[in-house]
């Protein structure tokens, strides 16, 4: 690793820290400017309300509250939940992060595996029925919203085929902290990854078609390199460069999608917590989860950009 590379990573980490700070600040201010408060649903009034607000430090100026939040957050302490009185947020969020990461990871694998494979096949069989069906499938895949696919998944596998599946992908209501099994993950991961894999398939196809007519592919053939090696080593490796460039947006899309998927399938991850916290006005949790998301996206984008240097030697930071 070169010195320039380390400097670059350092700069990027600083930028991530800055972005996370700004995002958490804006979200914090926004959420605290909401009319009413967390206890509005609990019919607490007068002195007891003042006492509650005081207990959670909610009667202080908002900037003081933010300072309190962020100075603890950088030490890894997101404070306590207001709805579930006094429960520490950090351990919950971390546990939920691992659940979400598992689902998101599965969807990402599916996205890249399925997307690249179908894209390559479609390109190699250009203008045949294989190409046409894969292309059409991809357009449908990125037009049908993930929540529709997920709902249909629930309908088909959870209702119509209940006798066969036993509703395998439902997480028990009282989650015991174990990870989902392959069976449990399949339907949610497909629902989550279908949109992104359609996108990857489209990009891979287009970029394979472009690359396959490049001079260096002809050179490889002229050298007598085996066809399979030409396709994988010479064509695909170059075709993956544009695919890598959309990995960042893809990861964001998967994170976004996970919010709805987790809610539909009742998967106890960050996304479910995010919506729950908004609906129940548990604002400390909302801010914590969103800060987590900003951090996640920043790190993922950095990882993608570093992958770029591995896959394309012309790029140096």
């Amino acid at each position: 690793m070169t010195r320039g590379m380390l400097t670059y990573i350092g700069q990027r980490l600083l930028l991530i820290a800055f972005t996370v700070l700004v995002v958490s600040f804006v979200v914090f201010l926004g959420i605290h400017s909401l009319p009413g408060n967390t206890f509005v649903n609990e019919r607490v009034r007068g002195a007891s309300l003042a006492l509650l607000l005081h207990e959670y430090g909610l009667d202080r100026p908002v900037l003081v509250q933010y300072w309190d939040f962020i100075s603890h957050a950088v030490q890894g302490n997101f404070g306590v939940s207001i709805v579930n009185r006094g429960e520490a947020i950090t351990p919950i969020v971390l546990r939920e992060l691992s659940v979400s990461a598992e689902l998101g990871g599965a969807a990402l694998l599916l996205t890249i595996g399925m997307g690249v494979t179908f894209g390559v096949i479609a390109a190699l069989r250009q203008n045949t029925w294989v190409d046409y069906s894969l292309t059409t499938f991809a357009i449908i895949g990125y037009s049908v919203p993930s929540f529709v696919i997920a709902s249909l998944g629930v309908l088909i596998f959870g209702v119509w085929l209940f006798d066969v599946t036993g509703g395998a992908f439902y997480y028990p209501l009282t989650w015991d902290g174990t990870y989902g099994t392959v069976v449990e993950l399949t339907v949610p991961a497909v629902a989550l990854g279908l949109f992104t894999s359609s996108l990857v398939a489209r990009i891979t196809r287009a970029s394979m078609l472009d690359v396959i007519h490049q001079d260096y592919v002809r050179t490889a053939r002229a050298k007598g390199v085996k066809n399979r090696v030409v396709v994988v080593r010479h064509a695909l490796r170059n075709a993956l460069i544009p695919v890598t460039s959309v990995l960042g947006p893809l990861i964001i899309s998967i994170i976004t999608g996970s919010v709805v998927i987790e809610n539909i399938f009742g998967i106890p991850g960050l996304g479910k917590e995010f919506i729950n916290s908004i609906l129940s006005h548990d604002y400390n949790v909302t801010v914590a989860v969103f800060t987590m998301y900003a951090l996640l996206v920043g790190v993922a984008n950095l990882a993608v950009d570093l992958t770029y240097t591995v896959i394309d030697p012309r790029i140096r930071y």
């Binding site: 490889a220 050298k223 066809n227 010479h234 896959i311 030697p313 012309r314």
Partner: protein, 367 residues
């Protein structure tokens, strides 16, 4: 008498496009002796590159070799299956291309790409491959080869990339090297270096070279024999000095007249060839050069000329030939090279200007 290393008989390659059948190469025949250097010259689109690609079975859809024989060391390359042909490519017949930047894979190291050529075949023992890669790079005069072999193509200059391509081509000690416009993308000074390198390598390794170019000067610098192609056919062939001295086909004559020469006397004015090459879908009847030829006669519009001996070791496909044009049409002094200008022959119902328009324009093709 030695056997030719390559013998091409009546080769035709067509492209089956939506607009029609593009007859890019038609009935091309020639041979290459071991260690010989042969140039193929012609304007862009005359079929010289397609001929080269056909030799190695590299013509991609919608193109297809429709007819002919390519005899290489006693076997017909067109009758081989994919795997057998792959084993000839890069091993016995190597090819280098015009643009050395786009022809090298940008994401693989130079050394890897050279080694890959050897690893794809079993000619070079596995243990020798990495050392031979460095030796080859030294042989094509890349400075600091030991270190540069780990570079990526973008770290090489244009000339060095072409050297690396040549090293790759030579790695399996081929019998024949096909160089398709190897110097076109390079600076003039680098061009000269690459040509000198090719000449030296031809002497050192004994590999025959087919040099494809639109530049007659490059042919003169490297080749012993030259084939002139026009509209998918060979119109003239012979030893380089002889062709340069007394071209017999009007096309060759015009080509030579359009190149500035230091040794020419003042009266030889630079003349350009008027008009465009014919549309390869809808070819003219008779001689394919007749729409542009200043020396055409009636026969040129009716019968396609057959290539035949016009002098010792020199053949041309022309009903007139330049000897007759000099004798009867004052070819030495003409200044007007428009179609039929020297012979005064214009076909019925056609104005001279109509000859200059290509038969099919983009407009008529798109419908």
């Amino acid at each position: 008498m030695t056997q030719p290393v390559l013998e091409v008989r009546d080769l035709s390659t067509h492209f089956f496009t939506d607009d029609g059948e593009v007859k890019a190469v038609r009935g091309v025949s020639f041979e290459v002796m071991p260690g010989e250097t042969v140039g193929i010259v012609g304007e862009s689109g005359c079929g010289k590159s397609v001929t080269a690609m056909s030799l190695l079975g590299l013509v991609q859809r919608p193109g297809k070799v429709v007819h002919g024989e390519i005899m290489f060391k006693g076997q017909d390359l067109l009758k081989l299956n994919k795997e057998e042909l792959r084993n000839i490519r890069g091993r016995d017949i190597a090819m280098i291309f015009q643009d050395p930047l786009s022809s090298l894979n940008p994401v693989l190291r130079i050394g890897f790409q050279i080694d890959e050529a050897m690893r794809s075949h079993d000619k070079i023992p596995k243990d020798d491959i990495s050392q031979r890669g460095i030796d080859l790079l030294k042989q094509v005069r890349v400075p600091d080869a030991v270190h540069r072999i780990k570079d990526f193509p973008h770290q090489f200059s244009g000339g060095m990339r072409q050297r690396a391509m040549i090293a790759m081509g030579l790695s399996n000690k081929p019998d024949l090297l096909i160089a398709d416009e190897p110097t076109t993308a390079l600076d003039v000074t680098v061009q000269a270096q690459i040509l000198e390198l090719l000449r030296d390598l031809n002497e050192q390794t004994g590999a025959a070279i087919i040099l494809i170019t639109h530049n007659l000067g490059i042919v003169a610098g490297l080749c012993r024999r030259v084939l002139v192609m026009y509209a998918g056919e060979i119109v003239e062939e012979g030893p380089v000095e002889q062709i340069f001295e007394s071209p017999q086909h009007p096309y060759t004559w015009s080509l030579l007249r359009s190149v500035p020469r230091i040794d020419s006397n003042r009266q030889d004015r630079l003349l350009s060839i008027e008009g465009l090459p014919p549309d390869l879908i809808d070819l003219p009847v008779g001689c394919k050069f007749n729409p542009r030829c200043p020396f055409r006669i009636e026969r040129c519009f009716n019968e396609p000329p057959v290539i035949e001996n016009v002098a010792d070791a020199q053949r041309a496909a022309c009903w007139v030939t330049m000897t007759r044009a000099y004798d009867e049409m004052n070819a030495a002094t003409i200044t007007d090279t428009s179609p039929g200008a020297a012979s005064g022959v214009h076909p019925r119902g056609r104005r001279p200007a109509a000859d200059l328009t290509p038969a099919a324009t983009a407009e008529t093709l798109s419908d």
